[in-house]
């Protein structure tokens, strides 16, 4: 794909991915075919900040995990009052990373 297009994509979407994975994404994007651009530019990526806010407000109900698509973990969190409160605390600090990894998985389907 054109370098300029890739650069634009990276610039507008860099907050959705882990910083150490960005270079890999850039290289893959340049390598892949132009026909995939339509797909890639329309992927719905989840905003880590939004998920963090949800996690702080409704973390002990597991809503953050449901939003990420981890239904099983969400149910686990809901049934145990947020993992007896401990899991809730841990998730406040790790949900952003989890979101970025989820986004990475999503884009990876199209990159390879």
């Amino acid at each position: 794909m054109e370098a300029q297009k890739v650069e634009m994509f990276i610039m507008s979407n860099s907050k959705f991915f882990e910083s150490h994975q960005i270079n890999g994404i850039r290289e893959r994007l340049i390598a892949i075919d132009d026909s995939k651009w339509a797909m890639i530019s329309t992927i719905q990526l989840k905003d880590p900040t939004t998920i963090l806010i949800v996690s702080i407000l409704a973390g002990s109900l597991g809503i953050d995990r449901f939003m990420l698509g981890d239904t099983g973990l969400g149910i686990g969190k809901l049934l145990t009052c947020g993992g007896l409160g401990i899991w809730t605390i841990v998730d406040w600090f790790s949900i952003q990373k989890a979101t970025r990894e989820k986004n990475m998985q999503k884009i990876q389907q199209f990159l390879y």
Binding site: D70, G72, G76, L79, T80, C81, G82, L84, G85
Partner: protein, 138 residues
Amino acid sequence: MVLSRNKLYSILIMACVAGYIWVCFNMVNKQSVLEPVEVCFIKHFTNIPCPSCGSTRAILSLTKGNFNEAFNINPMGFLVAFIMLFTPLWILLDIVAKKNTLLTFYQNLETYLKRPKIAIPLLIIIMINWIWNINKGV
């Protein structure tokens, strides 16, 4: 999170072990050497019980065979007790037979629960249970 077989199983086993320890701790801690430890954030900060507050007490009365009492405290206790009882067995079976039936079941369940037809009724049930919980002041 992409869950591999081993990862899911170790998470589940750890969760079950933690659950058993928690239940045992609550059994022993009856006469309350410590203040009854409150773990639920929602209840702690707002004084409103969350949908699954009281599960522990429900399980404790289940262990004594008081099914009605357990149901009255919180029906979710049955679900939690059921999961805690059968997951370790299932995992053991899977490990012995070198299969991954639980993983497939878990993945199928996840996609199944995401369907609006299933998710919305479940949500409503949880909400009703929650309202009931608040009303009886668990």
